[in-house]
Symmetry: C2
Subunit: 227 residues, 2 copies
Amino acid sequence: MSHTYHYPRPGLTVDVVVFGLDEDDLKLLLVRGGETPQRRWSLPGGFVRIDESLEAAARRELVDETGVSDIFIEQLYTFGRVDRDSRERVVTVSYYGLVNLSEHTVTAAESKDAAWFAIDDMPTLAFDHNEIVEVATARLRGKVRYQPIGFELLPQKFTLTQLQRMYEKILERSLDKRNFRKKALATGLLIELDEVEQDVAHRAARLYRFDERTYRQLAAEGTYFEV
Amino acid sequence: MSHTYHYPRPGLTVDVVVFGLDEDDLKLLLVRGGETPQRRWSLPGGFVRIDESLEAAARRELVDETGVSDIFIEQLYTFGRVDRDSRERVVTVSYYGLVNLSEHTVTAAESKDAAWFAIDDMPTLAFDHNEIVEVATARLRGKVRYQPIGFELLPQKFTLTQLQRMYEKILERSLDKRNFRKKALATGLLIELDEVEQDVAHRAARLYRFDERTYRQLAAEGTYFEV
DNA sequence: ACAAAAGTGTTGCGTCTACACCCATGG
DNA sequence: CCATGGGTGTAGACGCAACACTTTTGT
């Protein structure tokens, strides 16, 4: 089957930068597909089909190539340099996504040709994918400061220390414990649970969950959080 | 001449939302091309050529369709709903741009099938272009608060009152004159000129210009401005 | 008992907001 | 001399940053 057009058309792909957080690090999900030049690692992604939306394409490729599904994703930027793929003209719409690594999908990812890399220990990627990762990192860093997207990186129930560690890893600076807690609680977006951590070798911390309900209510208006 | 591919490819276009500011209003640049359904007004834009970058395509279409050239533009978002164009699958990479209407290009634009519309008095546009305009407006409103892009909407030399009016039009709320001036001057991004307004029927205001040099220096680090 | 992390308030400083009048100029 | 906008300072409220010790729990 072939398809013919009057003018040449650039190929259109999607690529997804998935950030994952575990106890140690902020990590990135990469794949080693067969088609990339020099068998380099690259971002999960592929061609957009004629009858699917961009986001649907991003989710489909993510599942196909890594087994990761049902995560938060959001459009990032569209990269269109003429020579970004040396074989032919390809424009790619990039997305970034966030997952919690302890609750999610690690096994599925590793059974295929996919793996998590610590964000400051990454290989050189195919095409302009390193550049895409940089833009994604900058976006995450900027956005986390005024929108509570970071919760996507944590398990449903988390401690205030975990929350703080997450911000510190993303922003790459340390935060004052007392001030952080005051501010975090002051947002009204945390629900205190009647539970504490289990199996820790010291005083167990109280668990919280993110209050998505009131977040959505506030989201209709202005800003929040700020770390 | 025809071009054949193994799989069907979506068409790839660019569209540009150009904001212009004059004494009265924040305005939007629209075109009435021959190809749109029902001859509706639409955003300037068109197909991306195989050998030009996305931004180059946006600038080219803008000049071709409206005569507006050499303005600030920045990528906005990529719209890819499957049915956004009823004739065939088209994905569009949108840009937004800013111009000052008193120094720029009005005549060129009006000689072609292009015109400026006040932003709160706009017709129904072709395709999903009204949605694109909304996203652009939201972006402008958000961005102007922490990055001094607004200067692109003013003439090179401007008064503090003009600057304030601009913010008020974009943010759609009034600002306190004294506080605004203090804050604007405190950014260090305004250079006080030895000139005042001409031909006004009252005390003439001092003129300022934007200090792009120090802006670029500061830009390497953090945030500024905030209104 | 000790190690490890949880949890908790206050003070000083700087920033934001609210607010009203006199001045310069042109007509 | 009048109309029009230009230009200026202060006081109170609020938010932010800095800072150290006690409590709980498991080993």
